[in-house]
Structures are given as C-alpha cells and as structure tokens.
C-alpha cells in the first residue's frame, strides 16, 4: 500500500469518513459544522456524505456536550465538536460531573462511547481565550481518557481508536498542526490508546512530550546532538491511560528526564509526570526531572509576547542541560 503525505486535517477527515461509513451510530454534533465543514475545515466533504449525521446546533455548548452524553447513553457514538478547546469551561458540569461519572456512579450500568474533539493550543495569535492547553484538568478527573496527538498518522489512528472506544475520550488536536503534514499509509489501521512512541532514539536524556511540542523537541534534539548530547524523544500521544512502562524503559537507559508541554508549567501534566518518575524511579535518576512549559500568564495577543510566554527550542535545550547539570 502506498504512503501519502497528508495534513492533520485531511488525516482527521479520512478517519471520520472511514468510521462513519463503518458504523451508523456515529454522528457529529456542534456549531458551524455544515456550511464550511467546520471552522477549520476539518469536516469538509462529510456533510455531503452523511447529511443526517452532522448536526449544526445553536450556540449552546452546555446542551451540545450534554447531548453527546445523553446520546452515548442511549446507543449512539457521538463526536462532540467543542469549537475551541477553551470553551470546555462552558460545559464543565457536563464533562466533569456527568460524562466522567455516569458509568461509575450508576454501578457500571451504562457506557459512554463518545469523543469530545477539542482544538487547542496557541501559535495563531488568538490571545487569552482561544489559545489554551487544558489537558491536565481532564487527566485529573477520573473517568476520562485524554489524547494529545502530534503527527497526522496518529491523528487518524488515534481518532479511530477513540471513536471505537466504549469510554469518553477528550481528543485535543493542536490548531497550529492542522496543516502539518506527515506520512499516512493508505492501509486501514488503528493506533491504540495508551501507547507512547519513541520519535528519536538517544542515550543521554529522555524528553517526554506530546502534541505540537514534539516538533519543538525534535529541533532541540538536533541542536543538542551538535553539542554532543543524544536525546531520546518520547511522544506520549495519550495522557490517560499513560504508557508509563515506555517512559520507565527509556529512563532506565538515560537516567535523566525532561518533560515538555505547551500548557503552563504550574499545575501542568509535567508536574504529575515528574512526581511519578521521582517516586517510582528515584534510584535510577542521575539528576532532577525538569519541567518545561508556558509561563504563568494568560496568553497575550501581541506575537512577540505570545512567543515569549511559550516554550521555545532554546528553552528545551537549556532545560536538558539543567537536567544533565551541564
């Protein structure tokens, strides 16, 4: 089978088309899906193929997310389009108190096979209310799975896995990566949830990252290599469930770890990961686990300030040196 270069957008559309053709209980619900194929064009071509299963709603995020929950409880597999990940705040009760709890709280009587698809991240100068990475909020709440892909092939494979999964999955897709291209096989495949992947092999330090920062880390690794440091990059892909076995395997080899994400460092997933590595792998570690993330302010608008607040390649290089105490 041939391998094409596809963007994350096209990889996503392909996943949706394949799944919706396969399973008639899948439908997409959200705002502005039909006329432009989604605000990022992510659903282009699908309304024509599945006119009854792509539902444009009023601007009512609470009801949209709640509708996903209710439809999942009654035999459907909804995909909820959150418009922008920042808007999860308008449906937090539906996500945290309903979606995450209903199965457990009712003693396992129900299942909630749904995907909440949320485009997140900065880099578009969209400022404070349209740029956030909020994945760690949902990792913290028991009952939700959290997916954070970086490459087009994973967008496709993980989205298919998320759709087929019988549990609620929050699928964060980075806005700045919609046009990012990468190889995607024509063969049908699935990328299972909860499996990390090594993007670059190395022996000196393990860089744990996900989503857009994977690309920043690759660039940092090239610079580090020039300085004689071989970094291993692990793209976590899924934060819940977390592939800690792969993380531990790499750290056993490198004895050093750096966590890199775009979300604010304080209270971010890096803190959880750092704590767990320290608790479980303390004797292996040759230095502190270093966290790299955004500075602790809302995202400012002006491009120069946005860049300043976000982690940059040189921050990652410096972070690795700090971890190695060089």
């Amino acid at each position: 089978m041939a391998v094409r270069e596809l963007s994350c957008s096209l990889a996503m559309a392909e996943a949706l088309k394949e799944e919706m053709e396969r399973d008639k209980t899948i439908f997409i619900i959200g705002e502005d899906l039909v006329s432009n194929g989604g605000i990022f064009g992510q659903f282009r071509g699908l309304p024509e193929l599945f006119p009854d299963r792509i539902i444009d709603t009023p601007i009512s995020e609470t009801a949209i997310v709640g509708a996903g929950v209710g439809a999942a409880l009654t035999g459907m597999r909804p995909i909820i389009d959150m418009h922008f990940a920042d808007f999860v705040t308008t449906a937090m009760d539906e996500i945290v108190n309903q979606m995450a709890k209903i199965r457990y709280m009712f003693g396992g009587q129900a299942k909630l096979p749904l995907v909440l698809w949320a485009p997140d991240g900065s880099g578009l100068n969209a400022a404070a209310q349209h740029s956030q990475c909020l994945e760690n909020w949902f990792v913290h709440v028991p009952g939700l799975k959290v997916v954070v892909p970086s490459e087009p092939a994973d967008v496709k494979g993980l989205l298919k896995a998320a759709i087929r999964d019988d549990d609620p999955v929050i699928f964060f897709q980075h806005k700045k990566l919609f046009n990012q291209t990468g190889p995607v096989t024509e063969e049908k495949y699935i990328v299972p949830l909860g499996k990390a992947v090594v993007r670059r092999a190395g022996t000196d330090v393990t860089i744990l990252t996900y989503s857009r920062m994977t690309y920043f880390c690759k660039e940092a690794a090239r610079e580090l290599a020039r300085q004689g440091i071989q970094a291993e990059i692990i793209d976590l892909r899924t934060l819940m469930p977390l592939d800690f076995a792969s993380i531990a395997e790499s750290i056993r080899k490198t004895r050093h770890a750096v966590v890199v994400h775009e979300a604010c460092t304080t209270g971010g997933f890096g803190g959880e990961l750092s704590a767990r590595i320290t608790e479980e792998l303390f004797d292996l570690l040759g230095g502190p686990v270093v966290r790299i993330g955004a500075r602790h302010v809302p995202m400012p608008f002006s491009p120069v300030m946005e860049k300043y607040v976000l982690p940059q390649v040189e921050d990652i290089v410096a972070g690795v040196k700090k971890a190695l105490r060089r």
Partner: protein
C-alpha cells in the same frame, strides 16, 4: 385519556408505595441507618405518578436529587433502591450511587442527577438518539422550580424546540428551591410561561390531582411521540418534608404544611374520589395499604440483610476498557 378502574387503582397503589417508601427512608435516616443525606418528595406523588403513567417502559426519564419517586413510578424495585440507599452491594448501583444517583437502564431510567438542572442537556442527547435511531420513544426530564433558572434549562429547551426533539419537560413546582420561594426566584410568573418564548406548549396542572396530571402529560407525550416536539408541563405541588431530612425549614411555617396536608393531599383526594365513584371501597383500600406496607418491610429486610461491598470494589468499573 381513557382510564379503566383497574388502572385507577394501580395509580393509587403506586402513590401509596412511594409515600410509604419515602416515610420509611425518613425513619431509617433518623435512625442513622442511611449514610449521607436524603431528599424526600412526600406530598408530590400525584405529579410523579400521573406523569410516569403516561410513559411506556422503553421511554426514558431523567430524575433529580429528589428522585426516589420518579424511579419507583417508572418501575424500579424498592428492594434494590433501599439497598442502594444503605450503600449495599445489591443496590441498583452496587453502592456507588446512593440516594441521589439511582438508575435502572433496563427500565429507561437514565438516572437521578445530583446536579440541579443536570438532566436537561442529557435528555436532549436522548432526543437526538431517538430521532437518529428512528424509534418513537419519548424522553421525560423531571425538574423543580429552582432548576428552571439554570442555563441548562434554557439551552436544552431551545435545542429541543429547534430540532423538535421528543421530550417532555416536567416541572414539579413544590414552591421552594431548597430554602427559596419560587415566587421570589422565578421571573415571569411561572415556569410554564417560559414555553411561549420557545414556541412550544406550556401547561400548568393541579399537581395534587393525579388524573389531571396524567391527562395533560399524556397529551404532551403523544405530541412528542408523533414528532411535533417538546412541551413544558408545570405541576403545582408541595413537599411536606424539608429540602433534605434534617432541614430546619425556617422559610415556612408548620401551619402552611398542615394546610396542604389537610386540603390537598394527593393520596387522600384520590382515595375519596375512588370511593365516591364506587371504584374501590375503603376496606379494599385499607387492605391494599397493608399489603404495600408489608412489601416495603420485605424490601427493607432484603437491603438490611444484603452484604456491604468489598472496599476494593471501589476500583472497579471506571472504564469499560481500562
């Protein structure tokens, strides 16, 4: 809506079952045999039983924190409900839900919801699901006067009206949202009034008249079933007990409660009607009440005798695929 004498007697029996269930829960709570807190709906039986009697088993309901009655009226069994309230492994939710979170999906009971107004958006989803699957089921979401002030209500009613979703919104206006009187908190005079803004029917019923409720709700259910969309039903009712058991109820007088009990009690009224109509005799009704009381005692015994969950069970059932 036509109703046989047998069905009338069944309505009375269900109201009595709910009353005795709730009284028993109150007593067991006082005796500190039920952990947590409980919200009783004694006094509201006609609203609940009348509404659920218009539904089929495959129709859906979503209930509230004050939800025992809805769940019983939709066909759940008292013994598993008591067991759940005791936190026993034999309960509907294996002891993970408790009084405020009981569900029985096999009876279309999509759960009581501990968040006031939490059920509205979920029922819109059931509505979409019904439409997409092409069945003629109906969803009924119960709520109080207080919940009608949440944004979830307005988003869901608008959504249901826009898409003509098969949903009946049943407000049980018991006059108090926790401690706050409805007349001080609900703008526009009534909850049913709000229906006009969304272009759907809004009806106010005497919520202590089980047949009036049944007729009015049946019309809304039929409308939904035929694809004409949602309605709002407001049953004017009253709760005799506090917001929760132990509530000191400084917001109303004992006289007010007594007045309702004496003049508008849904069970007393329906009993009198059935005797006047010659549908049942006092002797028959007394015998039925004795039988229901014995069933309730049996159900409590089942729950009492059931084992507690193994604490490790707490780690089971979060995900289908962990």
């Amino acid at each position: 809506m036509k109703i046989s004498n047998l069905e009338k007697k069944a309505l009375l029996r269900k109201m009595v079952e709910i009353r005795l269930f709730e009284e028993k829960i109150g007593l067991l709570f006082q005796q500190q045999l039920i952990p947590g807190f409980v919200h009783l709906s004694i006094g509201q039986e006609a609203s609940t039983v009348g509404s659920c009697s218009a539904l089929r088993t495959d129709d859906y309901i979503i209930s509230t924190h004050r939800g025992h009655a809805h769940i019983l009226a939709k066909g759940a069994e008292p013994k598993y409900m008591f067991a759940e309230c005791f936190g026993k492994v034999t309960g509907y939710c294996k002891g993970k839900g408790g009084s405020m979170h009981i569900a029985d999906f096999s009876k279309g009971i999509l759960g009581a919801n501990g968040v006031v107004g939490g059920g509205f958006p979920i029922m819109t989803g059931a509505g979409f699901s019904i439409k997409l699957r092409g069945t003629d089921q109906v969803g009924m979401v119960f709520f109080g006067d207080g919940a009608s002030n949440r944004g979830t209500f307005h988003e869901a009613v608008n959504m249901a009206a826009v898409f003509k979703l098969p949903i009946v919104f049943v407000c049980e206006n018991n006059r108090y949202a926790s401690t706050s009187p409805a007349e001080k908190m609900v703008a526009g005079g009534s909850v049913a009034n709000r229906a006009h803004a969304y272009g759907i029917p809004g009806v106010i019923n005497d919520g202590s008249n089980v047949l009036a409720v049944r007729d009015s709700v049946a019309e809304a259910v039929e409308r939904a079933r035929r694809g004409y969309g949602p309605s709002i039903i407001e049953n004017e009712t009253y709760r005799y007990k506090g917001h929760f058991e132990g509530d000191r109820q400084r917001y109303r007088t004992p006289d007010e409660i007594q007045q309702y009990r004496l003049t508008r009690d849904p069970i007393d009224r329906f009993e009198t009607l059935l005797i006047d109509e010659g549908v049942a005799t006092q002797k028959e009704i007394d015998a039925m009440k004795t039988a229901v009381a014995a069933e309730i005692e049996d159900a409590v015994r089942f729950a009492m005798d059931s084992p507690l969950p193994d604490p490790h069970e707490a780690m089971q059932g979060l995900f289908v695929n962990p």
